[in-house]
Subunit: 288 residues, 2 copies
Amino acid sequence: MIKKLASLFKLDSTVIKGSGDDCAVLKFNSKMRQLFTCDMIVEGVDFTPRDNPYLVGRKALAISISDIAACAGIPRHAVVSLGLPRNSTVSRISKIAKGISELAERYGINIVGGDISSSPRLTIDVSMLGVVEKKKLCLRSTARKEDIIFVSGALGGSIKGKHLKFEPRLKEARFLVRHFKVNSMIDISDGLTQDLWHILEQSSLSAVLYESLIPLTKEASGLRDALYSGEDFELLFTASRKEAKKIFAAKSYKFFPIGEIVSGGPGLSLVDKRNRQIRIYPKGYRHF
Amino acid sequence: MIKKLASLFKLDSTVIKGSGDDCAVLKFNSKMRQLFTCDMIVEGVDFTPRDNPYLVGRKALAISISDIAACAGIPRHAVVSLGLPRNSTVSRISKIAKGISELAERYGINIVGGDISSSPRLTIDVSMLGVVEKKKLCLRSTARKEDIIFVSGALGGSIKGKHLKFEPRLKEARFLVRHFKVNSMIDISDGLTQDLWHILEQSSLSAVLYESLIPLTKEASGLRDALYSGEDFELLFTASRKEAKKIFAAKSYKFFPIGEIVSGGPGLSLVDKRNRQIRIYPKGYRHF
């Protein structure tokens, strides 16, 4: 659907990359690109009425920071549209705003505007601008054959709380592109297999994952949870074997190699603990 | 409420103007500022389920173009978040997208990304980027004593259809700042008196309007409609008497002088058709 809609829209030469990646990439100046992204969260879909409104506001902003991180950028400015039920209390709205403002301040993001509308269910849409050095920009479409696939942390069980409290992997992404050559990157929002599929589809390549290498959170119910559940908000990235060795040896942050990129595709398989290679299919959270 | 929330957010020196104007104003390069704005529309509030989805999509984008116009800028890029009820048909979604894409193309705007979420009621949030020459930027806070107040077109009765079909006054705004010195500008979204009040409050001045000068649409039910109804999406701007004469004499577009800025304030009064000056108060559409 998104692909079909995106094809309607004509783009001029100031757009380096339109929809289809974590952020749009726009011309900015001789050294930098501008990143532009938006994410909407809705009560009953992305959070429940019982969730702490401070954490709901925080999540709305954190998702966009994670998108900027996935392009290896630095978040700079955001605008926030709030759709509020008519019975919203000032206390609840203030908590949402506090969740937004505290995270924004910590990441040096200016909240420069917004819109408030009435809406039957609490809805928060954040649009964020960032910048990235031309040479450090990471996309989904640029994985290479024989790349090693990494994740920035353990997967699964996010629904038990991490989805509201996760720390966007901004420092990790910037550390990676400062010290190593990363070929492709995305953040895991829809689930490992579905987000890896975006890289494979856009790079026209396949991947082999190794069950024994996939790190699970202690909240994860098992492998399926790690493969198919959404909202881990970890980085998923690929780098050449040579770079991979250096990344694996990095002291500042721990990155987990979980598989490799192979030719042809897109296609996806898993080598299980009994060393059988089985074909698997991208699945994850779908809104419809 | 918005003011209270805005005070939570700390801004750095790359922000020329945060929330409180039609757009945020950001540093861009030596000659230009970047403009950033967002607007959310929700079914049942800003349009009805029976409205043509093509026009609903069009409206979502047109509102943001009007905000960029109010700052005298040029719209460049937008991202669109769609909250869709689960029973949305592909045909309805395509019509919304067509309403957005056709208007975007006509105004040279790149739709560079988006997000689709499920939502109990159709919700469209558009965030838009634009640029404006430093010297042409128009704000709400810079009206001057003895300025003449203008509107770009007739007011009132927008609910009868104009709110879905209005042409954002972008050409008019650019014409104004290319040829004249405009001191302050806003677009009328909440209603003449309420939006004029934003100028008066931020400029610490008062205004006198002349009933006989206020142009009414043929759909307007009367003066009250023109003063207090929202969504006219006309430009409301002020210029010195000297500039006002030239603006009034312009051949390309017709601008209507409706009053003048006076010292002190904020305050607002109306000279009625019997030449009585009466104090009036800002009122308009309120979401809560």
